[in-house]
């Protein structure tokens, strides 16, 4: 009898549903749910930027990334995470698109549905653009497939995906608003145009690129932020120059990460100064006369920051300048430096004479870094700028140059960007080295140098090296640094008055510097040999994907 009581009272329902998750079966049935699904596509993880450490703009002490080392394979984390994350976003975008009919049947009005369709198409286009740029031919899916079908699928030729992706971008351009009047700022017409232009540029589709860029410029909603150096600071958010950004926020826990901050900032305020700009980058900035350093009479290798394009010191910390509360001075005899906070001199840890792990090549990043990076436990939350207006201008110019349709609009686009860097009006051609040349070959060189100066540390150098086929040269040379230990540096360089660079490095027609004279003289040291392998112009398809699917081929050379 007691048992019977227990029996009755103990029956639990076995139809249990998740307590802290929604059900997919009736999702996508109202605006709130669809918009929540769309917003998921803007998560930081789906918008990766190519890393600086895959390029010649970057030095990490004596080590190289697997790409620079030529050891990239299908098991590399960079490869698998890019592949997996982009396809996750694609599947989610496809799911939203597949549910639009259901949404319509639930009474959501057509204008909303068009907007949602445009937004999902935008994300899908961006994801495929990223995949194609890195992997070439990839699997192309526009709907959610079941697992059995998935195993029968192979790679679609790049050309077909490019066409379909342009169409997605066009759908986005047609359906997205120029601006959002209130609420959350999401993808816009301008973003679709700008990213379409970028993808077209990467594919060498110059007229598509120039048309898209032109259309973006003609929207007349974007303009260059007045100050180049302020643009990247946390104090400048979602500026008029930003076309598409993923916001970061310390309070909302989306940041660039303490590890990156510590590796970037100098050692006196407690950083590590390990991820540093390369000498190649320092050498790439033109002088204020617009000439490369080996041609300009204004360049002095002992004072490498003097008379340089202003973006040089906006990107790399000038020796002797104030940086993060200290004077930054890597000179081996600068054993003490001024701490602006205490007003006193203190031991200089940004100097390899005092601190072995101070920057190995004496350079550290300035761009985007300010004293706010020392707060919040040394974390920072500047905007992740996916694309900005200066890029649109330079893409327009580059596409027109490649089309050999060189006109005033091309020069104007370049000069707008350049004059902003000098902080002067475009028309004040005496105050900055305005571009006046109309020759295609010279302009091609100018525009490539301009991009490198303008976009350093913004994740664009890697694809530029790839599409210009420059990695073969730029990533097989050496990465250099100052001599170590300090005694040797003093003996060979500073005691002879040869600090910083004993001589001016030679710059070739692709803007690649040659430091071999100093190396042979024993005045500088080789930090590492870059070892790029040309097979990496296309990344390997992830090993796992190839192993489980017989229909999936690997890229050549792996």
């Amino acid at each position: 009898m007691t048992g019977v009581v227990l029996l009755i009272s103990s029956c639990n329902d076995l139809d249990l549903n998740p307590l802290a998750a929604g059900s997919s079966e009736n999702w996508y049935s109202n605006e709130v749910e669809i918009e929540m699904a769309l917003k998921d596509l803007y998560r930081d993880v789906f918008w990766p930027m190519d890393s600086e450490d895959w390029t010649d703009d970057y030095t990490y002490r004596e080590t190289n990334s697997s790409i620079v080392n030529g050891t990239l394979n299908g098991q590399d984390g960079s490869v698998t995470s890019l592949w997996t994350n982009q396809y996750k976003a694609i599947a989610r975008a496809n799911t939203i698109l597949a549910n639009m009919d259901k949404a319509a049947s639930k009474g959501i009005n057509q204008s909303k549905i068009d907007l949602y369709t445009a937004e999902a198409s935008f994300v899908r286009a961006c994801m495929y653009a990223c995949l194609v740029s890195h992997f070439g031919d990839v699997v192309y899916l526009t709907e959610v497939v079941d697992i059995e079908t998935a195993f029968t699928i192979g790679r679609t030729p790049k050309a077909d995906i490019i066409k379909a992706t342009y169409a997605d971008f066009d759908k986005a351009v047609a359906g997205l608003p120029v601006k959002y009047s209130g609420g959350s700022q999401r993808a816009t017409k301008g973003a679709a145009l700008a990213l379409k232009a970028r993808f077209a540029l990467y594919n060498g589709d110059w007229s598509v690129a120039s048309d898209a860029a032109k259309a973006c410029m003609d929207l007349n909603v974007y303009k260059l932020h007045p100050s180049y150096s302020n643009l990247f600071l946390t104090t400048t958010r979602n500026s008029e120059e930003s076309i598409f950004v993923i916001p970061r926020s310390i309070t909302n826990k989306v940041t660039i990460g303490g590890g990156i901050v510590l590796n970037t900032i100098s050692r006196n305020p407690g950083g590590w100064a390990a991820m540093d700009p390369s000498w190649d980058l320092l050498a790439a900035y033109t002088c204020t006369d617009g000439k490369p350093i080996d041609e300009s009479p204004l360049f002095n290798p002992h004072e490498p920051f003097k008379n340089r394009d202003p973006r040089c010191t906006a990107t790399i910390v000038e020796f002797g300048s104030r940086h993060l509360g200290f004077v930054y001075d890597p000179h081996p005899d600068a054993l003490e430096v001024l701490n602006f906070k205490t007003g006193k001199m203190q031991k200089n840890n940004d100097n390899r004479a005092n601190a072995q792990y101070a920057s190995f090549n004496a350079l550290i990043w300035k761009k985007g870094v300010d004293e706010s990076w020392l707060e919040n436990g040394k974390d920072a939350d500047p905007d992740k700028i996916i694309i900005r207006y200066a890029d649109v201008l330079l893409m327009y110019a580059e596409a027109k140059i490649e089309l050999n349709q060189i006109d005033e609009s091309v020069l104007e686009a370049i000069n707008k960007v350049r004059s902003r860097a000098y902080g002067v009006d475009k028309a004040a051609i005496n105050d900055y080295p305005a571009v006046t040349n109309l020759d295609q070959a010279s302009l091609r060189k100018i525009i490539r140098t301009e991009r490198r100066m303008e976009f350093a540390k913004e994740g664009l150098r890697y694809m530029d090296l790839v599409r210009w086929r420059l990695a073969t040269k730029a990533l097989t040379n050496k990465s250099y640094g100052i001599l170590y230990p300090a005694a040797l540096l003093r003996e060979k360089v500073t005691s002879k008055g040869l600090w910083f660079w004993p001589v001016t490095p030679q710059i070739d027609e692709d803007g690649i510097p040659d430091f071999s004279e100093m190396e042979l003289a024993g005045q500088i040291t080789v930090l590492s040999k870059r070892n790029w392998d040309d097979r990496q112009y296309l990344w390997p398809i992830p090993t796992k994907e190839v192993l489980i699917n017989d229909n999936l081929s690997q890229n050549p050379g792996y």
Binding site: S10, L14, G22, W27, M36, A91, T251, G377, L547, L552
Partner: protein, 1098 residues
């Protein structure tokens, strides 16, 4: 001489035997004496006693009874023998005639019978050998008996080895009975019931609680290591309070969770919720026939734990105190400072020839570092991180108190235990308080009840930062402390010593309250109906206060140089988890004996519900560092979250056990289970099983064969199916998961809720089924002194719940589905010997087992790093390249396939096995050149126990090991400059390929050249790094001494025992120097425990 008296009666059977008021009728037969005895016992309620060795049971006798009195029957029967009989209250003693005559001149003796722990044995039989003259011991274990001079007394008690006593001139005797761990009359706990060991048909291992508690581990799970054949217990550290990481019964059954179901006193629970001292016994249900009564959740085997209860007339109090030290067994060693400087430079040179030989450390530094250290330790540090962080030993202590009291109507057993174990590094300890009270009530002849309660509270206190990994990584060239004692910078703020000391601490409290109430109703003899409800509540609280910790400059105590890694702000994180589960059961059992037919029927219903909810909250950037409360942190940087889930199942089950004449044993089980984890159309599954046993030694032809040496022989066979459902809580539902993304709203970044389907769900997902076949035998020889148990099994799992690799371009996480098969073959052997020579009692047992799991068609592949599961592979088989040694010459390098263009002489050479076209393609690629390299799981597991006693002294020893296991030398063991700044393991020095060495030396090199730039390809999984990780370990060694009762009884103490015990005293293995075979590469060390203890019983 050892006497063995076999009680040939079955007391349970006698209850229903007919009263023998009339005469006996047995047709005339010529039989052996043994058969005659059985026949009489079968037809009457008389029971025979005799000396099994001295009595010739195979002699032919004549048995005839025609409604005769028993005396007449016996007279006729024994006429031709040299035996006489004596009848006392339905007991017939057969006595040799010469003995019988000398039962004259008696004297009265007294004695006390105690068990191994000195506790009085109540109700033990004390019988004069060969007679019916006997008595039983009283509540204090005392007896008195009139016996002839020089009589042999036999002392027996169920579950104990019989003891004999020669009566001499003394009048008082103290006798100690030794537990018979393999006694055939031992009662074994099985699912929802008990059965005598000799009646078992399935593969069940049974362990006495004393055996587990004697291993002196804090957690019960670790005591189980090496104790049972076929039970593999693994651990990877001995941190305070640490439990075993994994328990596997008969190897691997499924790709998912292979941990067994643990049932504590009939209710699903956790093995570590039970104090080892509270365990009465533990049963491990290994085959499907034994486990299938637990159906859906028993696929990986079942562990049944029964806690101690008081018996009638108990009245005892025991106290035990133990104090000891935990000492690390081994620690990895690293090259000293000099070689570190030299080898670092060599490595950098290898990676960048152009940089020269002194890239990192100048020639001056290399040559003079040690000298400069004496005068300038801040700039030339030499830090031994392990020495600095790890203490030589850590104390531990245990207090426990046991109280038992029983009367006819109420019985209570209570225990209280407090443990505290300190850590091997600063500010770490674990303390635990446990109590358990088991009550039994007898209301009347029809109604009984039990009410059990247990409570456990543990607290673990430790630094927020666990220094072990960093301690092993950190290189000696970084300063831990400046020369004036201040904490130093370490490597750019990575200073494990300072962070451990100053980085704040974390406290975790785990509270568990469990209870069980049952009402037992016995309406008629043999039928018992029980209703049981058993809730368990868990409340966890975790508080982690991570402090901002700064270092000051070496030459300037007033200037902050920076903050330690991960400790630049002060952050409080609080977690609260609470969960509960309720099991309700309704069980009916019915026992019936009809002549030689024994029937045991059980039916039951069970319901289980579990609910779990978590909550966390944190604030960051506290200004104050001594107020670990949420309110005091900045509002802007607060964060919180929570989640919940629930599961339920419902089951009906039943069992029939039948035995005929104790010879033929049959058992059938079925369980019908429904789980909330599956869609309602695929929710229910039924799991049947059958088993049979044949007691060979009961057969007359065996008895006729006159096999004196064989005491008992049984063959067993079983077949059954089991289920598994452990794959998340809602696997069939394509759920929408929520996250967050940031958007600008009016120029401010706002976090908004986002939603996405992340799983690709398969709605018809259902039970995974394991089918298992077991063949076994139980043999005893030489008067049950030698025992051999053996089992062979074959398990097949089908419709395996598996998260197969799907192409990532599908865009969802790998879904679970019913696919794939795997099978496991294995065998187990247990061999035991127990004997006694005078006062010397000893017992040896060893166990051995092996299994091999092979994957069938999985419908795909599952990759897990260096190991793989795919069709035809073993379970988690190593998967990687095949190495061909090291590249020794440039010529070899030029002409060989390479993994990339960065490979140099001195790197690992891999075999080009295939390519995209199925033939070697001149490249080493991860797609085409990796193959199966052998299983990663242990083979040939063994363990054993030896125990001995001599008067007051006792000794025991346990060992355990693995006979073969391919193990990988992992990066923590052999990687130079881990994370590019770390230490260099000393096993590398002198054993790596080097351009500075001769060809002859390099030909013998065990490790590749020093490199960082090519480290990932050298350390890619390949057979180059595999070695046999077999080991044997002395698990426990105990010496004890019990003071003579004559001494202690004067102060009213029953027993005082002192003991010294050591756990994990030594280990033999081929692991690299400094590595314990069981220690995880970044784990807290495995420790040797040295313990001293005293127990007092009143």
């Amino acid at each position: 001489m050892l006497l063995a008296v076999i009680f040939m009666s079955f007391s349970s059977a006698k209850i229903f035997a007919m009263e023998n008021s009339e005469g006996i009728t047995i047709p005339l037969t010529k039989v052996t004496l043994a058969e005659a005895i059985k026949k009489i016992e079968a037809t009457t309620d008389y029971t025979f006693f005799y000396d099994a060795i001295k009595t010739n049971l195979r002699q032919q006798v004549t048995l005839k009874a025609d409604n005769q009195k028993i005396e007449d029957v016996l007279n006729a029967l024994l006429k031709t023998t040299d035996l006489h009989y004596k009848i006392t209250d339905h007991q017939i003693a057969l006595i040799p005639k010469d003995n019988f005559k000398s039962t004259q001149s008696k004297k009265r003796i007294t004695g006390v019978v105690v068990d191994e722990t000195g506790i009085p044995v109540i109700g033990a039989n004390v019988v004069e050998a060969g007679t019916t003259n006997g008595t039983i011991t009283d509540l204090e274990g005392k007896f008195s008996l009139d016996v002839p001079l020089n009589a042999d007394l036999l002392l027996t008690y169920v579950g104990y080895v019989s003891a004999n006593l020669k009566v001499g001139s003394a009048d008082h005797y103290n006798v100690q009975l030794v537990l018979d761990s393999q006694g055939l009359d031992e009662v074994v706990v099985v699912g929802y019931g008990t059965v005598k060991k000799k009646d078992l048909t399935g593969a069940v291992a049974s362990l006495q609680g004393d055996m587990l508690s004697s291993r002196k581990t804090t957690q019960l799970s670790t005591a189980l290591q090496g104790a049972v054949a076929g039970v593999l217990v693994t651990r990877d550290n001995s941190a305070p309070g640490a439990a075993a990481t994994n328990i596997k019964i008969r190897g691997v059954t499924t790709i998912g969770d292979s941990s067994p179901l643990v049932i504590v006193d009939g209710v699903p629970g956790d093995i570590n919720q039970v104090n080892p001292n509270d365990v009465e016994n533990m049963s491990v249900l290994k085959d499907a026939a034994s486990a299938s009564i637990y159906g859906s959740r028993a696929a990986a085997g079942v562990i049944l734990i029964t806690t101690k209860r008081a018996s009638e007339n108990d009245l005892t109090l025991g106290y035990n105190f133990e104090y000891g030290w935990e000492i690390p067994t081994k620690q990895p060693e690293y090259v000293g400072i000099q070689r570190f400087l030299e080898m670092t430079n060599e490595l950098r040179y290898n990676d960048n020839n152009a940089g020269g030989m002194y890239q990192t450390y100048s020639q001056d530094q290399v040559e003079n570092w040690i000298k400069y250290n004496a005068t300038d330790p801040n700039n030339y540090p030499i830090t031994d991180w392990t020495d600095l962080i790890l203490k030589g030993s850590a104390p531990r202590q245990t207090h426990s108190l046991n109280i038992a009291g029983g009367s006819k109507s109420v019985r209570t057993k209570a225990s209280v235990t407090y443990d505290k174990t300190d850590g091997l590094y600063a500010d770490r300890y674990y303390e635990r308080f446990m109590t358990r009270v088991n009550n039994d009530f007898k209301i009347n002849n029809y109604l009984g009840a039990t009410l059990d309660f247990n409570f456990k509270r543990s607290k673990s206190h430790q630094p927020v930062f666990d220094p072990i990994n960093r301690m092993r990584i950190a290189a000696p060239v970084y300063a831990a402390v400046w020369d004036d004692g201040r904490m130093a910078e370490g490597k750019s703020g990575s200073n494990p010593y300072a962070i451990m000391e100053n980085g704040g601490s974390k406290d975790s409290w785990y509270n568990q309250i469990g209870g069980k109430a049952s009402i037992d109703f016995t309406p008629i003899e043999g039928l018992k109906i029980s209703g049981i409800v058993a809730p368990i509540y868990n409340f966890d609280k975790i508080k982690s206060f991570s402090l901002a910790a700064a270092y000051t400059l070496a030459n300037d105590p007033n200037t902050i140089g920076g903050y330690y890694e991960g400790h630049s702000t002060t952050k409080l994180t609080e977690d609260r988890n609470d969960s509960y589960n309720v099991t309700t059961q309704f069980i009916a059992t019915y026992l019936k004996t009809l002549g030689k037919h024994d029937l045991n029927i059980m039916m039951g219903y069970e319901n289980y519900f579990q609910y779990n909810e978590t909550l966390f909250a944190s604030r960051d950037q506290y200004e104050l560092t001594n107020y670990p409360y949420l309110d005091l942190g900045p509002l802007l940087l607060r964060d919180n979250g929570g989640s919940a889930y629930e599961t339920a199942y419902r089951s009906m089950f039943g069992r029939v056990m039948y035995s005929y004449a104790n010879k033929y044993l049959l058992q059938a089980n079925i369980r019908y289970d429904g789980s909330s984890r599956f869609h309602k159309d695929y929710r229910w599954g039924s799991f049947p099983s059958f088993s049979a046993g044949w007691v060979l030694s009961e057969e007359s032809f065996m008895k006729d064969a006159d096999l004196n040496w064989l005491s008992f022989a049984k063959l067993r066979a079983s077949w059954g199916t089991l289920g598994n459902e452990r794959i998340g809580n809602y696997p069939y539902q394509a759920t929408i998961a929520f996250s967050n993304a940031l958007f600008y709203q009016n120029g401010i970044a706002v976090s908004e809720l986002t939603a996405a389907q992340q799983q690709y769900a398969i709605q018809n997902i259902s039970w995974e089924t394991t089918e298992s076949l077991d063949l076994g035998m139980d043999l005893s020889f030489l008067d049950n002194r030698l025992r051999l148990n053996g089992d062979y099994y074959h398990k097949t799992t089908k419709d395996m719940l598996l998260a197969l690799e799907i192409p990532d371009y599908v865009g969802f996480d790998n879904p679970d589905k019913n696919t794939g098969k795997m099978s496991t073959n294995g065998y187990e052997l247990e061999l035991g010997w127990n004997d006694k020579a005078g006062d010397f009692i000893y017992n040896i047992s060893i166990n051995f087992s092996d299994f091999l799991s092979e994957m069938g068609d999985l419908g795909g592949t599952q990759f897990i790093g260096d190991q793989v599961k795919m069709k035809g592979s073993q379970f988690n088989e190593w998967y990687g390249y095949v190495s061909e040694g090291l590249f020794q010459t440039q010529e070899d390098l030029t002409n060989s396939a390479k993994i990339n263009n960065n490979v140099k002489v001195g790197d690992v050479k891999y075999k080009d096995i295939s390519g995209p076209d199925g033939v070697p393609d001149g490249k080493i690629s991860s797609e085409y050149d990796r193959v199966l390299l052998g299983g990663s799981l242990p083979r040939y597991m063994f363990g054993g126990n030896v125990s001995a006693k001599y008067k007051g002294f006792d000794f025991s020893m346990a060992f355990q090991g693995v006979g073969s296991q391919p193990v990988r030398l992992n990066s923590m063991m052999i990687e130079p400059l881990g994370e590019n700044w770390g230490n260099i393991p000393s096993i590398l020095d002198g054993n790596y390929w080097s351009s500075l060495k001769s060809e002859v030396e390099n030909a013998k090199a065990r490790y590749p050249r020093l490199t960082r730039s090519n480290i990932s390809s050298n350390q890619a999984m390949s057979d180059f790094w595999l070695f046999n990780g077999r080991y044997v370990r002395l698990k426990n060694l105990t010496f004890g001494y019990t003071l003579p009762v004559s001494l202690t009884s004067k102060v009213s103490i029953d027993k005082i025992r002192f003991y010294a015990s050591a756990n994990d005293l030594f280990c033999l293995s081929k692991f690299p120097k400094g590595w314990d075979p069981e220690m995880g590469s970044s784990s807290y060390p495995i420790t040797t425990s040295l313990l001293l203890g005293v127990s007092v019983n009143f």
